[in-house]
Symmetry: C2
Subunit: 399 residues, 2 copies
C-alpha cells in the first residue's frame, strides 16, 4: 500500500469552491496509485471568528473550553471535504482526534502530540481511497479535547507521516520556499531542496510555509516533506535531511527579515551566576519568548540585551524591576528589524561573517545586536534601511 | 444533591448577548441551591448554515459525514456557555457526546439514544456548579458521531433527566403551552399543566414547544417537564403524567391547525388483505410519513384516502401506480388544512364529537376526511375557512 500524507491549510479550503478544488487534487493523487491521508485546517477565518466570540465573553477564557470551541473548525472542514470527495466518486471517510486517538499532553491551546493510533487508518484504507483527519486537535488522558497551537495542522500531518513512514505534502497558498521574500527582493529564487536545519532557522524567522514544530518532528523521524501551493501545479520545495549529492551545496540558503523586534537592555547587573537565570526564569514563567540574547561582562558588572516579539514590554520591564531592585538600569529604545542569513553550508565555509559585516558597513548601518549560530547570522538594525539591506544581502549572496 | 436539567434552544443562545443572559438564568438556579445540568442547541442558524454548505457540495451528502459536520454546532455552544458562566464566577464544565458516552443507535441523522453514562456528570458535579452537555449528538458502537434529528436537544435533555431522576426544564422563545395558537385565536389560554398524552397529540400537530420524541421518553420514564421562555420570567407549563387532583380536568385541552396537507385518494382497490399493506410498506420504504388514514369498503372494492405533509406527491403517485397497476384510480385534489381538538378528558366525556361536527356544520364546512382517537378528533377541510373554524372551536370549547 503506497500511502502519502497531504495537508491543506485554511486558505486552501476557505470556501466550498476551494474544497472542491482540493478534492480534485486528492483524486488525481489517488488515481496515481496512492492511498491518501489528508489533514485539513479550519476553513479560512473560522478559527479567528471563534476566538473573537470567546473573547467577547471573557478576557481570559478557560483554555479547556477554548480547545472545545476551536477544535470544531477542523471538524467542519473534514466533513465537508469528505462529502466533496464522495461526490466525485472517491471512497472517503473523515476522523476527528477522538476517533483516531491522537494522544497529546494536557497543556490546553499548546498541547504536544504523544502518539497516534494508526490501526484505524490502516484498516480503513483497506476499503477506502482517502482518510481525512482533523488537524490541530488531540485528546489528553482525561479525554478532554486539546489543540496544538498555531501551525498545529502541520504538526498533525508530519506526525502522521512519521507514524505511517511516508512522504508528507504540505499545501498552502505559497508555492515553495524562497531564498528571500519575493515581495522585498523580486529576484529571489525558489529552492528545490532545503535541509531540516536550514528550514528550522528559516521557519522560526518567519517563513510561513511550514511551522517549525512540524520541521522538528520531520527531522526527528526523518520525514521527507514537500511544500507547494494548492492553487497551482508549479514545482514546490522538498525539506529533507541532506541535500542530494549532485546538488552543489550553497553556502547561504536564505535571507530573512523580521520586523517589530523590541530590544530590552539591562545594565549594571551583579556579576554572579544567579541573576541571569533569575531573569530568564521570570520571562519564561510569564510565557515570554526571548529571541536574540547578548551578554557583556567586564568582570565586575554584567550587561544584558535581548529581543522579544511580544508587545508587553511595559509589564515585562515592571516585572524585571520587581525582581532586580533599583540598582540596575532597564531600558528599551523602540522597534528594530532583524536581518538573518541562513545556510548549512556556512559550517564548512569561511568568510561568510566577514562578508556579512562588510555589506552592513557598506550600507552605512551599524547593528545594535548580533547573534550567530553554526548556520545563521542575525543582526538587529533600525527598521528604516532594513529592506534595502536585505536586498543587498540577497544579491551579494546570490539568493 | 438537588439536580435539575435545563435545556436552552437555538434562539436562546443565538448570540453572545443571549448566551450571557442564559448564563445569568443558570446562575440564579444554582444560587437557589441546585446543581444544574444544562443542554444547549446550536446557536441560531448554525445548523442551517452547515446544512447549506453540505448541500452546495452534494445533493445527497453521506449521513455519517453530515453528523460529523452538524455536531460541531452544539460543541460551539457548550464551550461558549461554559466560558460565559465562568466569567460570572460559576464553576462550569462542558462535555460533548463522546466524553459523556451518549450511546445511540447507528442511524445517522436520526439516531436514538440507548444510554448515557451519568458517572462523569455526578463526579464532576461534586466540585462544579454547572455541567453543560452538547444536545442533539451521540456516538454509536463504532465511535462514529450521530445526531438525533430535529428536536434532538429536547430528547437529550429529557433522557438526562430520566437518568438523573430529576425535573427537566425546557426553555425556548415560547412561554408555555397554549390551548390554541394565540396568533389565530388571541383569547387562547396558557395551561399550567398538560398530560403527556395530550402533549403527544399536540406536539405532533405542530405545537413547537417540545419535540414529541422527548415527550415519549418523558412519559416512559415519568419525567416531569417544565416548558417556559428564556426571555421572560412568566410562569410556563408543566408536562406531567396526570393532572393534579385539585384541577378540574378540562374535556378539551387544545385545538390546533396544520396547513399544507396533501390528500391522496386511491379508488377501486381489490378487497383483499395484501393490497393495503403493500401500499403502506411502499410508502414507509420511501420514508413518507402518512398521517390521517381513512378506509371505505363496499365488500367488493376498497377506497382509501390518506394525507401526507411531504411535497413529493408526484413521485409518490408514480410509485404507487407502479405497484398497483392500471386498474386503480389514484388522485389528489390540492392542499387542505387539518383542524384537531385534543383532550384526555374526552375519554370520560360524551358529546364532544357531536359538538365538533355541529360546529363544522354551522360554519358551513364539510370535512373531506375525519379521523379520531380516544383523545383527539381531526378533520381535513379546505384552507379558506380553516382559521375561522379554529377560532369557533377554541371559543365554543372554552380554550
Amino acid at each position: 500500500m503506497r500511502i502519502v500524507v497531504q495537508k491543506y491549510g485554511g486558505s486552501s479550503v476557505a470556501d466550498t469552491e476551494r474544497i472542491r478544488n482540493v478534492a480534485e487534487r486528492i483524486k488525481r493523487k489517488a488515481e496515481a496509485g496512492y492511498k491518501v491521508v489528508v489533514v485539513v485546517s479550519a476553513m479560512g477565518k473560522t478559527t479567528d471568528n471563534l476566538l473573537s466570540l470567546a473573547k467577547s465573553l471573557s478576557v481570559s477564557p478557560n483554555p479547556r473550553e477554548m480547545d472545545m470551541l476551536l477544535s470544531t473548525g477542523e471538524q467542519i472542514s473534514i466533513a465537508l471535504l469528505s462529502i466533496a470527495l464522495e461526490e466525485i466518486g472517491m471512497r472517503a471517510k473523515s476522523f476527528n482526534a477522538f476517533q483516531l486517538n491522537i494522544k497529546t499532553t494536557d497543556q490546553h491551546t499548546k498541547a504536544r502530540i504523544k502518539d497516534i493510533d494508526d490501526d484505524m487508518i490502516l484498516n480503513t484504507l483497506k476499503d477506502h481511497d482517502v482518510i481525512i483527519v482533523a488537524g490541530f486537535q488531540g485528546i489528553d488522558e482525561s479525554h478532554d479535547l486539546t489543540t496544538l497551537g498555531r501551525g498545529g495542522s502541520d504538526t498533525t500531518a508530519v506526525a502522521l507521516a512519521a507514524k505511517l513512514g511516508c512522504l508528507c505534502e504540505i499545501y498552502s497558498d505559497v508555492d515553495g520556499i524562497y531564498t528571500c521574500d519575493p515581495k522585498i527582493y523580486p529576484a529571489a529564487k525558489k529552492v528545490m531542496y532545503v535541509t531540516y536545519d536550514d528550514m528550522l532557522e528559516l521557519a522560526s524567522l518567519g517563513a510561513k510555509v511550514l511551522h517549525s514544530r512540524a520541521v522538528e518532528i520531520a527531522k526527528k523521524y526523518d520525514v521527507k516533506v514537500y511544500c507547494a501551493s494548492s492553487f497551482t501545479d508549479t514545482e514546490g520545495t522538498y525539506v529533507i535531511n541532506k541535500l542530494p549529492e549532485w546538488l552543489e551545496e550553497p553556502v547561504v540558503t536564505g535571507a530573512t527579515i523580521e520586523n517589530g523586534q523590541t530590544k530590552i537592555t539591562i545594565s549594571d547587573l551583579p556579576d554572579d551566576d544567579e541573576t541571569i537565570s533569575k531573569i530568564f526564569n521570570k520571562l519564561s514563567g510569564m510565557g515570554i519568548n526571548v529571541d536574540m540574547i547578548s551578554f557583556f561582562s567586564d568582570g565586575k558588572k554584567t550587561h544584558l540585551s535581548f529581543t522579544i516579539v511580544e508587545d508587553h514590554k511595559d509589564s515585562i520591564i515592571k516585572s524585571l524591576e520587581e525582581i532586580l531592585g533599583d540598582d540596575v538600569l532597564i531600558s528599551n529604545d523602540g522597534q528594530y528589524s532583524k536581518i538573518s542569513i541562513v545556510g548549512v553550508g556556512m559550517r564548512s565555509s569561511t568568510g561568510v561573517a566577514a562578508k556579512f559585516f562588510s555589506l552592513l558597513s557598506k550600507s552605512g548601518v551599524k547593528p545594535v545586536l548580533v547573534t550567530t549560530s553554526e548556520i545563521k547570522i542575525s543582526c538587529l538594525v533600525k527598521p528604516e534601511k532594513s529592506q534595502e539591506i536585505l536586498r543587498t544581502m540577497a544579491k551579494e549572496f546570490d539568493l
